[in-house]
């Protein structure tokens, strides 16, 4: 029963995140935003921030907080949305997305007081940072955990594999990577651009404990996070790019696209939430 309530709560949070994503996408105007790759992360982020991560919004620099790194920094719409929902900054700030001088740019800029642990945007860098942070926990005998969200397109970057190899070598069982496997990257499918076939096998062969799940099924996401391993853990989350809106699901036009007011209104109706 408790689990059912928790799932309902996470689903509600996911809905709010999607609504916030629409707000920011509209606010971005002609600057456009990375819509599709943000929507594939929504359930993962909602579950992580609702039920997994230890943090204290009134003390964002709390030393024992868990650390989260959005390595696929372009998917910041979901990240900013969940931080906002958890109280790191007010809703009106979302309207400043990609505006001059805003702290909410199109890729995260380090701002620990607002819950943003690192700057990211150039792909393939977040996992190495996470390894440094996880190693620091071991060195300092701290129990905080480190979570890094990466993309499947991002796995084209060689630096991901340098990091992957070393995390297992350093026996970082306090590190979890979440791989948003939405099968699409900027200009086409993984298969067309650079095959990432058998991603699970690749990570397993780098000595990670791989849990493959449906990345939109909250019960499965919770179970994967709760699973304890003696190795670094990879949650291979099969997701749908653009998830949540009929016009954007698996439609790579929405990788980075301008949202019109009409599309925004239609999407809100589809989401079935009040404006």
């Amino acid at each position: 029963m408790e689990n059912k309530n928790e799932i309902t709560k996470i689903k509600k949070l996911a809905k709010e995140i999607r609504k916030n994503i629409l707000t920011m996408s509209l606010a971005a105007g002609a600057n456009s935003s990375h819509f599709g790759g943000s929507l594939s992360t929504v359930e993962l982020l909602a579950t992580l921030y609702n039920s997994v991560l230890k943090f204290d919004v009134s003390n964002p620099l709390w030393k024992d907080r868990d650390r989260f790194i959005l390595s696929k920094g372009h998917a910041c719409l979901g990240y900013y949305s969940v931080l906002c929902e958890k109280g790191f900054f007010p809703k009106e700030d979302l309207n400043s997305f990609e505006k001059n001088g805003s702290f909410l740019l199109g890729h995260p800029v380090i701002n620990k007081k607002k819950g943003i642990e690192f700057s990211n945007g150039s792909l393939g860098m977040g996992l190495s940072l996470g390894i440094g942070v996880a190693l620091a926990a071991k060195k300092k005998n701290k129990s905080y955990k480190t979570f890094v969200l990466i993309g499947d397109g991002e796995c084209n970057e060689g630096s991901v594999w340098e990091a992957s190899m070393s995390a297992a070598h350093f026996k970082l069982n306090n590190l979890t990577a979440i791989l948003d496997r939405n099968n699409l990257q900027q200009t086409g499918s993984n298969e067309e651009i650079m095959s990432t076939k058998e991603l699970g096998d690749k990570w397993r062969s780098f000595n990670w404990d791989v849990k493959e799940i449906d990345g939109h099924d909250i019960a499965q996401i919770l179970a994967a996070f709760n699973y304890v391993s003696e190795k670094p853990k990879l949650i291979l989350a099969n997701t749908i790019k653009g998830k949540g809106f009929s016009f954007s699901e698996n439609n790579n036009d929405w990788h980075h696209k301008i949202m019109t007011k009409k599309q925004y209104d239609d999407a809100l109706k589809e989401l079935n939430v009040p404006k």
Partner: protein, 308 residues
Amino acid sequence: MRATFGVAALELGNTVDKLMILTGDVSTSAGLDRFKKKFPDKYLDVGIAEQNLIGIGAGLASEGFNVITTTFAPFQTLRCCEQIKVNLGYMKQKICMVGLASGLVLGTFGYTHCCIEDIGILRSIPNLTIISPADSSEAVKAVLSSLEHKNSVYIRLTGGANIDQIYEDDYNFKIGQSITLKEGKDVSIFASGTMVKVALDCSIILNKSDIDAEVVNMHTIKPIDINKVNESAKKSKLIVSIEEHNIIGGLGSAVAECLVGIKNSPTQIFFGINDSYSEGGDYNFLKQKFNLTPDFISKKIISKFKDI
């Protein structure tokens, strides 16, 4: 200088709180074998993976560790240039990078292992400090100062095993503050790294031709000591820069960027590697080839000085 770095590391292991020294499979070359044995918890080898080296270093630094990374200069700088930009420049995670065997000393290995580009490339990244020590004692001072410094620092080690020592007595080393090793009123020579010795040798040769040359050890290339350049520009008739680096983007460029802001500034002559990858060879062969010798440089200065 590399062996000296290893000795300095041993001292740091005893004195610096939350120290982490990271290498990319170069512990022996970096003189760190003893450190590795004595302080295994403070040593981390990330393998031949320099992008990961900087990322892990930045992650540790974000958690309060005093991080030093080291590998051969091309791999310490060029291979992981974007990680340096994003993690150290943009995000201001603070680490100290030690680039081994920069310049021409590994010339017999070919230009994959020489490094004539590091200063130019790193100089264009905001929030980075660049130091090129003149001898091994200055390398130690540079490492110690870096740990207290607010920005990330790149320490560029040049020269071979038997590097000339510039300093006999202890002295005050301050990042960003050049050291005038010899006063002079006619010509001002700015040099860094192993070229400081070359500059001193030049001044002796020049003296025989009645040219009184000032020699400045510009150990910090970024931020450049603009006050010293201004002061020299006011009194000298000729400015000279000598560097074991491409003449594009290095010390000479940094000095020139100061000079252009000065009304009626004196002429500058650049000595360095003339924007080329020549045939390979040993250190002395390459220094001769690129005219980085006291005799050649002095002759050029004398000839130029006469024309003024």
